[in-house]
């Protein structure tokens, strides 16, 4: 469904992505692991077109999207949930969801506000609350809900567990598994190995802008050498 091949990206003169190659199949949850600064967020932003890739391909459902603008990539069916959440703080929960709304594909069950509230019941209790007056966990739910309103077939989840309380993290994991059951494909960037293990089928380990290791989570957990080399801070 998603194939990223030889993706390079620069910030000014800094060469951040140095040929990232990864793939996600329909309905899969793939975890993108790695330390701070390994290039996880940049990979997501490059797929999304928010950082212009200097080289490489991003194929989604057979179309090459590299070099396209973010709105075109979003309309092609990729949803992006940023690490900083970027809720519209002046807009209410309902309005935030409204901004994300996009028409569904034929045959796709469309996301509605009610369906988002069924996934994240606590949001349903604060429909008229401005985004700026919500807790971190609530904002995380809202930013995911907002992206789902666009009826994406793949979502890029950038560190959804960051800064959240353990109880909320578990609820977040349940939500991701529910989305997976609905057939959504997820590319998840994580530093929290425990969380990644709860939800992911496969892991790609990023270090200095390249994928260094790929495999199942079980294999990763068993491989002390890889964990030591690329993941332990």
């Amino acid at each position: 469904m998603l194939e990223v091949e030889g993706l390079h990206a620069h910030y000014g003169r800094a060469h951040i992505l140095q040929g990232v190659t990864l793939a996600a199949r329909q309905g899969e949850v793939v975890a993108l692991l790695g330390r701070n600064g390994a290039g996880k967020s940049t990979t997501m932003k490059s797929i999304m077109g928010m950082v212009r890739p200097s080289q490489g391909q991003v194929r989604f459902e057979g179309r090459d999207l590299a070099g396209r603008e973010p709105f075109e990539i979003a309309r092609a069916g990729i949803g992006y949930v940023p690490e900083e959440r970027r809720i519209f703080t002046e807009l209410t929960v309902m309005e935030n969801l409204d901004v994300g709304r996009r028409p569904p594909r034929p045959g796709q069950q469309a996301w509605t506000e009610e369906r988002v509230f069924a996934l994240f019941p606590s949001l349903g209790a604060m429909r008229a609350r401005p985004g700026g007056r919500m807790s971190g966990g609530e904002q995380q739910m809202l930013t995911i809900g907002r992206t789902l309103m666009g009826n994406p077939r793949l979502i890029l989840l950038d560190e959804p567990s960051e800064g959240l309380a353990p109880v909320i993290i578990e609820r977040m994991a349940d939500a991701i598994l529910a989305l997976k059951r609905d057939g959504l494909t997820v590319l998840l960037s994580e530093q929290n190995l425990h969380f990644a293990r709860l939800v992911s089928d496969r892991a790609c380990v990023l270090e200095k802008g390249q994928i260094r290791w790929e495999g199942t989570l079980e294999a990763l957990m068993a491989d002390e050498a890889v964990k030591q080399q690329y993941l332990v801070a």
Binding site: P70, A74, F88, R146
Partner: protein, 612 residues
């Protein structure tokens, strides 16, 4: 007495309404696109002219008048879309000053186009059918049309509120105002959004202009007059805030209505003074919020390379020419050369705060003009000789730099540009309105050099020595530790402060240096021309300086010098050979902004770099 106050207050409200129409468009456009649209006043003027044409051509009556007004506003909306698609769309990522400058180019173009179509004379429109009469309020007659205008402001505010809170388009616009990149990642086509927002803003400006038709004559000065006020309103209210703009328009309308009663001499100063106070107390305006700068791309400028041998040779060659050739030139050429020397210093002084300082100034003419007035006032009121006058010029400009700079260097980006503009307007209106001291619009005449410097050639050498000397001093400061500290503060203010630099003080000192240098230029200019006028401090003069710096390239050290040479020459040629020089200059500005964002020297550097 009370009746008069009431009537005064009511006309203040009526002015506030039209001001709000213009300011609301400006603020909505800024909120989403982050562009401060100088051409917004031109759209307002077009609204007035177009409605004049339509209303006088259409049959008299309600339909003819109101239909004409609405159609004019819609046509202005379409013109706004054209400006957005052809120009602004290409410069959304450019620095703020480029955007201001690019839209100022549009102002110039529109001025000449309007002159060609409608001619130089003031045009009077018909009065509004059904609203011709007056009503009696406490025994005083008050025009019905003014009452209608008072109602228009709140009604438009209400409609806009509904549009922004009850439609999906409005919600999206508000979201984009906060974080437009995120809105794009959610699948919203920003281009379409920006264009529609620009259409709305332009229609509002056009409507504001069209509704002026029964109130005042339509003329070619409407654009800059309204844009200065609209800037003040938008900045006081908080850029991007509609209720803020409404509040500020009310405030300004009343201030001007009553200011005329209390301080008839300083009504113009009053508005800008209020703006300066508001900006210092609330740097983002009454109801504004700090911009979401966390997501703005921050460009770190590359360090300045020391002059290469080639640049040095070129510099020496130019200087040798400047010294050796003039004795063989005629008087007119000497005058032009003197002016060029002065402009080089003027440009270099602005570059000092813009380039290494990273501060946006849209009002640098204030210090140039204050230098000129410093010399001229001494000459007029105390019959001081030139030597004293040339000493007073930098002193006066430097003093203004101390006071104005203390406010300006606290702000950054658009707000700083607006505040520098406000101070320049204060200086300008003081010179314009304080007739007893400054001679007002007639200026001060008879500011001649001392006898020994009367020959044009001697005066040229005097100007050359002073201008080259001060320019070299500024250049020396850029490469001194002070200049390093200034650039450190520009590129990463937090880090610079963390290692113990007092960023505020460094920027303030730089601002004062720049003001002093501009003052020297202004003083020399006064004696070169023999007279001073308020236009020395007006917006176009500030734009001249900006153009010189940007033409040469902001982030190069030699840029302002090359820019001043090129600009003064082009300007001289244009004024001499074209009647429509504004149209031409405006097109040059737009082309510069579109195709040479690094300036001439920047473009040359790129070329030589590529060759390596």
């Amino acid at each position: 007495m009370f009746e008069n106050l009431l009537v005064q207050g009511l006309s203040g409200l009526a002015s506030a309404s039209s001001l709000f129409l213009v300011a609301s468009g400006l603020t909505v456009i800024f909120g989403v696109t982050r562009i401060v649209n100088f051409a917004h006043g031109s759209l307002y003027m077009m609204g007035a002219y177009l409605s004049w044409t339509l209303v006088t051509a259409l049959p008299r009556g309600h339909l003819g008048f109101w239909g004409g007004v609405l159609v004019a506003a819609l046509i202005v909306g379409v013109i706004g879309v054209l400006i957005e698609v052809l120009l602004l769309r290409r410069i959304y990522k450019a620095p703020e000053l480029f955007q201001l400058l690019g839209t100022f180019g549009v102002v110039l173009i529109v001025q000449d186009v309007a002159l060609m179509i409608w001619g130089p004379q003031d045009l009077l429109g018909p009065r509004a059918p059904g609203l011709r009469g007056a009503v009696e309020i406490l025994g005083v007659r008050f025009p019905l049309y003014e009452l209608f205008l008072i109602a228009v402001g709140p009604v438009v505010l209400g409609l806009l509120w509904l549009l922004f809170h009850r439609t999906r388009w409005g919600t999206t616009v508000r979201a984009a105002t906060a974080d437009r990149e995120m809105v794009g990642a959610l699948g919203v086509n920003q281009r379409m959004l920006f264009t529609t927002v620009f259409f709305l803003g332009s229609v509002l400006a056009g409507l504001g202009g069209a509704l002026q038709l029964p109130r005042e004559s339509v003329n070619l000065q409407m654009d800059l007059a309204i844009i200065a006020e609209a800037f003040v309103v938008v900045v006081i209210g908080g850029l991007g805030s509609l209720p803020g703009a409404f509040l500020a328009a009310l405030l300004l309308g009343q201030l001007q209505a009553f200011g005329i009663l209390i301080f008839p001499k300083i009504t113009l100063v009053l508005a800008f003074l209020v703006m300066a106070v508001v900006l210092v107390v609330r740097p983002h305006g009454l109801l504004g919020r700090p911009p979401a700068s966390a997501h703005a791309a921050h460009v770190v400028e590359p360090p300045y390379p020391p002059a290469t041998p080639l640049v040095r040779y070129l510099g020496f060659a130019a200087l040798a020419l400047a010294v050796l050739v003039p004795p063989f030139m005629g008087e007119f050429a000497l005058i032009v050369f003197t002016e060029i020397a002065i402009m080089v210093l003027f440009a270099a002084s602005l570059h000092f705060i813009m380039g290494p300082g990273g501060m946006a100034s849209f009002g640098h003419a204030a210090y140039f003009g204050l230098g000129a007035y410093g010399a001229a006032l001494l000459a007029k009121h105390f019959a001081a000789p030139m030597e004293l006058g040339l000493f007073a010029a930098p002193l006066m400009a430097g003093f203004a730099g101390v006071v104005f700079g203390w406010f300006c260097v606290r702000l950054s980006g658009v707000y700083a540009a607006m505040l520098t503009l406000a101070f320049a307007q204060i200086a300008w209106s003081t010179a314009f309105q304080w007739v007893e001291v400054t001679g007002g619009d007639n200026g001060i005449l008879g500011v001649w050099p001392s006898a020994w410097a009367q020959p044009k050639l001697v005066y040229y050498y005097l100007a050359l020595v002073l201008c080259v000397g001060v320019t070299l001093l500024l250049r020396r400061a850029i490469f001194a530790p002070f200049g390093y500290a200034l650039r450190a503060g520009r590129d990463s203010p937090l880090r610079a402060e963390a290692i113990g630099m007092d960023g505020f003080r460094i920027r303030w000192v730089a601002f004062i240096f720049a003001a002093i240098a501009a003052g020297v230029a202004g003083g020399l200019f006064a004696y070169a021309k023999g007279s001073v006028f308020p236009t020395y401090m007006a917006i176009p003069r500030s734009v001249d300086a900006l153009l010189m710096v940007l033409l040469g390239g902001v982030q190069t050290v030699s840029g302002p010098i090359v820019g001043a040479l090129a600009y003064t020459w082009i300007h001289e040629q244009l004024m001499r050979s074209f009647d429509l020089w504004r149209l031409f200059l405006g097109s040059v500005i737009v082309a510069l902004v579109l195709f040479f964002p690094q300036g001439l020297v920047g473009a040359a550097q790129r070329l030589t770099e590529r060759r390596k």
